[in-house]
């Protein structure tokens, strides 16, 4: 029985790491694991999925699938699910992944667990842990329809290499131009040498204590030394020092890097919700009573304008 399908997240052949995280997770279930990749000229990616345990790689290729569009992708995947009947289909909890999964789930009149941070999948049963209230609480839920559908948060599952056959399967193309209802006019990639906030190993964030663009520059300088993503609390977003897409917290992104460095962030509950699950947390703040220190592994009560330059010098040694 075709066990778990992992919907690949890729753009221009660059596969998001969360795809490999999901493949590694699915391998644990002991059933067949398949990667499902949509795109144009993407068959060449198959060995990448085999390396993380994909027994099969369903390749859906064509101009119609060159860029993500909900209508054609949903029509195609729904037809494939009807034909092959996978036990579970997992998507990444990206903007595209949740859009894709939500419309598919409704088409199938099925349940869907979005933004899952843990999964237990057996034949016909899918139980997921979801962070609710932006991580202030957890809910364990069961999807009671078939196939089991979920979107998985990036960075919560371990990547492990495991040899898979990676046999390429080319399913019949069921979607047509008539299924497309969103006309893509342009896509402008964010010009940044820094990693994606939600996938970064290290995140350096700046808040009100940065006082302006000069403080943010220090945050960015430290981030670049560490190959880190830059984020911000609501104060620095609302002040216009950083773009909204970099906001960490309840009305922004939830991040869980290996190391989170909070510079000049007091730690309002909405911000803590977005970063408390980071493995290690360091905080630099002049206020010794700042709530950020309650969740920090290493707290520095000092002026970030002095500490960050000194830290950069130390790290260069």
């Amino acid at each position: 029985m075709p066990g778990t399908w992992i919907i690949v997240e890729q753009r221009d052949g660059n596969v998001r790491k969360v795809t490999f995280e999901m493949l590694s997770e699915a391998k644990k279930y002991g059933e067949e694991v398949s990667a499902v990749v949509f795109g144009k000229n993407v068959e060449g990616l198959a060995p990448e999925f085999a390396k993380y345990g994909a027994d099969k790689v369903y390749v859906v290729e064509g101009d119609l699938f060159a860029e993500y569009n909900t209508g054609a992708y949903v029509a195609q995947l729904a037809a494939m699910i009807a034909e092959y009947q996978p036990n579970a289909v997992l998507f990444a909890h990206t903007f595209n992944g949740r859009d894709f999964a939500s419309r598919l789930a409704q088409k199938l009149e099925a349940g869907l667990a979005t933004d899952a941070i843990a999964a237990e999948i057996t034949a016909g049963k899918g139980v997921f842990t979801r962070a609710i209230y932006a991580g202030k609480a957890l809910a364990k839920v069961e999807v009671t329809t078939s196939p089991i559908l979920a979107t998985i948060r990036a960075g919560v599952m371990e990547v492990a290499e495991a040899a898979g056959a990676g046999a390429v399967v080319k399913p019949a193309i069921a979607a047509t131009d008539a299924d497309v209802y969103q006309s893509i006019k342009s896509f402008v990639p964010t010009v940044s040498a820094r990693p994606d906030l939600t996938e970064a190993e290290v995140v350096v964030s700046g808040g009100r204590g940065c006082k302006g663009p000069d403080g943010i520059k220090l945050v960015e300088q430290l981030a670049d030394m560490l190959g880190a993503a830059v984020g911000g609390s609501r104060a620095s977003i609302d002040s216009g020092w950083l773009g909204h897409e970099l906001q960490v917290g309840q009305t922004g992104k939830v991040v869980n890097p290996n190391l989170y460095i909070a510079a000049g962030i007091s730690g309002a509950i909405q911000h803590l919700a977005g970063m408390s699950s980071s493995k290690f947390i360091a905080a630099i703040n002049t206020d010794p009573e700042a709530p950020i220190f309650n969740v920090s592994d290493f707290g520095v009560v000092s002026d970030l304008f002095k500490v960050i330059p000194a830290l950069c010098t130390e790290l260069k040694k």
Binding site: R98, K185, V202, M225, L226, S296, L311
Partner: protein
């Protein structure tokens, strides 16, 4: 043209979450319009101010308490409201089915909603509504232009900014950066009391997702906190980063 905005009443984002008898405790918690939906309400009102639409209808599914969310939206400037009484334990499927049925009766040209709710964080309902109604949707918009029966939307996308066009009617979900929602004026609050709000019962639909249990995340313990000369602090922090966290310096 008519715009319909779906709003969900949620806990204030400043609320501290606690469990009581295995459930999320709601006693004493301030309730607000989901911040993403509030942006959608503002977006709808601005479309009316630009004379692109004639009417802004607010729809909320939930308990009687959700009337407050509707009144807030009316005070901001929406024209009338619909409260769809539904068990708050309804899942995303059941909520979408109920909302879509009410929307169908209204037959709006544009359906707005936040792309995600700040409580359950599901980001499913707007997209599900579009599928039920058999109309296009577009998610996470930061701007929209309406012309010639089409919506041209700028959207926050994975790794960039997307511009896409859909034909109306369509479901359009908002990102918080689309606009800055206004505070209701005193005049608006007074007027809202007189604006019509219809109350209906949502059709009973079975959930597709069952909640097994709630839990609190493992509490994060505070570690060391040092107060010293900045250079000393920096040296100790660097040592911790290199030897405990084992980061790599580029």
């Amino acid at each position: 043209m008519k715009v319909l905005v779906c709003v969900k009443q949620t806990f204030d984002t400043e609320a501290k979450i606690e469990l009581k008898d295995g459930k999320i405790a709601d006693a004493g918690i301030n309730l607000i319009i989901n911040p993403y939906d509030e942006v959608a309400v503002e977006g709808g009102i601005q479309l009316k101010e630009k004379k692109i639409v004639d009417e802004v209808v607010v729809l909320s599914a939930g308990s009687d308490k959700a009337m407050d969310a509707i009144r807030t939206a009316l005070a901001m400037g929406a024209d009338r409201g619909i409260l769809l009484k539904q068990d708050t334990a309804a899942d995303e499927y059941a909520r979408a089915v109920a909302l879509a049925a009410a929307i169908k009766e209204e037959n709006p040209d544009i359906i707005l909603a936040g792309h995600v709710a700040a409580d359950d964080g599901s980001s499913q309902v707007p997209t599900r509504i579009a599928e039920i109604l058999g109309i296009p949707h577009i998610n996470v918009i930061t701007n929209v232009e309406i012309a010639d029966g089409k919506a041209t939307c700028t959207c926050e996308a994975d790794g960039g900014t997307l511009v896409a066009e859909v034909a109306l009617p369509a479901v359009i979900s908002s990102q918080v950066s689309w606009n800055e929602p206004r505070y209701p004026s005193m005049k608006g609050i007074m007027q809202a009391k007189k604006k019509p709000v219809a109350t209906k019962d949502a059709a009973a639909v079975d959930n597709k997702v069952t909640i097994i249990e709630y839990a609190m995340p493992p509490a994060k313990q505070a570690g060391v906190k040092i107060e010293d000369d900045p250079d000393v602090c920096a040296a100790k922090l660097a040592d911790w980063m290199l030897n405990t966290v084992k980061i790599e310096v580029k």
